[in-house]
């Protein structure tokens, strides 16, 4: 049996989900028998591959760039997993929603800047008005809540997905876990 192609993606999140993923420690070796990591902030692949079996998405959709990425990922992925609370609920990044991006950017780059106060407008992508969960943009196949989901949750969920075994997510984790 050829190995499954696994991608992990980092949108508007803190990377804590990726850290927790790495916390699987020696179990990563066991997982490596089942999957190949073809795209991830942890490996040096620049473009999202044509055909991915499982994609773990950390973070909410917060910018025009995130929005473009999530549509591309969906088009080239068999099983899309919303990994962690940011991807599922918006979580901490969504706390800016009642305030709006202008006020937030102003606070960070103008009011609190001592040298050359200016709002960045080149290279960095434009922020969306509100931070939204990924399932408001594309179809999500598996939701894995937690902030972050624990290493045990990752291990149980990925093993189930890689071997097509049944998966009871609510028994493993919850919002804020």
């Amino acid at each position: 049996m050829s190995k499954l192609k696994l991608a992990t993606v980092w949108l508007d999140g803190c990377s804590g989900c990726h850290m927790s993923f790495l916390d699987m420690d020696e179990r990563l070796l066991e997982l490596a028998d089942l999957v190949d990591v073809v795209y991830s902030p942890l490996v040096d692949a620049k473009d999202y591959p044509e055909a991915v079996d499982i994609a773990l998405i950390e973070g909410a959709v917060a910018s025009v760039d995130d929005e473009k990425k999530i549509h591309k990922i969906r088009a080239h992925t068999k099983t899309l997993v919303a990994m962690g609370d940011c991807a599922i609920t918006g979580n901490v990044p969504s706390m800016r929603n009642p305030i709006g991006p202008e006020a937030i950017l102003n606070r960070a780059y103008v009011e609190n800047a001592s040298a050359q106060p200016q709002i960045p407008c080149v290279v960095v992508p434009k922020l969306l008005r509100t931070v939204r969960p990924i399932h408001e943009f594309v179809k999500v196949d598996v939701f894995l809540p937690g902030c972050p989901p624990s290493a045990n949750t990752f291990h149980a969920a990925l093993t189930a997905l890689a071997t097509s075994a049944p998966l009871d997510v609510a028994a493993l984790t919850r919002f804020g876990a």
Binding site: I88, T89, V92, S94, M95, E136, G176
Partner: protein, 237 residues
């Protein structure tokens, strides 16, 4: 059988159970170890049937009825866990999550929250409805406690415990529908209100909406089980 007999026999999820006249379906279910999820109900407070999580099906009745305020009758056939009820309960929880800004990961009640644990026990892994993200305030004017409207689910346990048990009636509800808001006195700051500083409202709040300022991180378990004991002691006096 006559309507006036004191003991009623009914079935809950196929189990034959007996109850005293005037008991609610919820009371009888819990006496018989049949769990029905609740949020606004709390042992020791008057029931208001507000959260609708305890809805049950009754044979011959087309509407779903809240078990906390529906009394039993002879021959009643109650179902507490049908697929239809599970679907409604999940939707109610989803509506609660979208209505305010519930960010479990940074909440003082994380791990001790009834809304959070209900979401898990009802198998809710995401919310299908768009979040409203309302702009709500936090009242930290009280010397000991804080009210965070972002986490309030309007269960009115605080209103009831303050009025019924403490006898102060500092809390009440302002506005209507989605604009409802818990207020102290006539919408004063909590710190400037007639609050007696007893802290009962904090202990009965099912989420992190009311919390003790001395608690940090997510270490804020609540202990609402003092209520039935308090009532019992008062009755015996």
């Amino acid at each position: 059988m006559s309507e006036n007999v004191e003991v009623k026999t009914l079935t809950i999820d196929g189990h034959e159970v007996s109850a005293r006249r005037g008991q609610t379906i919820l009371e009888v279910a819990r006496e018989n170890n049949i769990s029905i999820p609740t949020l606004c109900h709390l042992d020791g407070l008057t029931d208001v049937g507000a959260c609708r999580l305890c809805l049950v099906e009754i044979a011959g009745v087309s509407k779903l009825l809240p078990s906390c305020v529906t009394t039993v009758y002879e021959g009643m056939e109650v179902h507490t866990d049908s697929e239809r009820l599970q679907k409604h309960r999940r939707t109610i929880l989803e509506l609660l999550f979208t209505e305010r800004n519930h960010i479990c990961s940074v909440c003082v009640a994380n791990g001790h929250c009834e809304l959070q644990s209900l979401a898990q026990s009802q198998g809710l892994t995401h919310v299908r409805l768009p979040y409203r993200n309302p702009d709500l305030s936090v009242d930290a004017s009280h010397e000991r406690f804080t009210l965070d409207h972002n986490r309030c689910i309007l269960c009115t346990r605080c209103v009831r415990v303050c009025a019924e048990i403490e006898g102060a009636h500092v809390w009440d509800v302002m506005g209507r529908g989605i604009n409802s808001l818990i207020i102290s006195d006539l919408h004063e700051n909590w710190g400037a209100s007639s609050c007696t500083r007893c802290g009962k409202c904090v202990q009965v709040c099912p989420t992190g909406a009311l919390f003790d300022k001395s608690k940090v991180g997510s270490e804020h378990p609540k202990y609402p089980d003092f209520l039935p004991y308090l009532n019992l002691m008062r009755e015996s006096q």
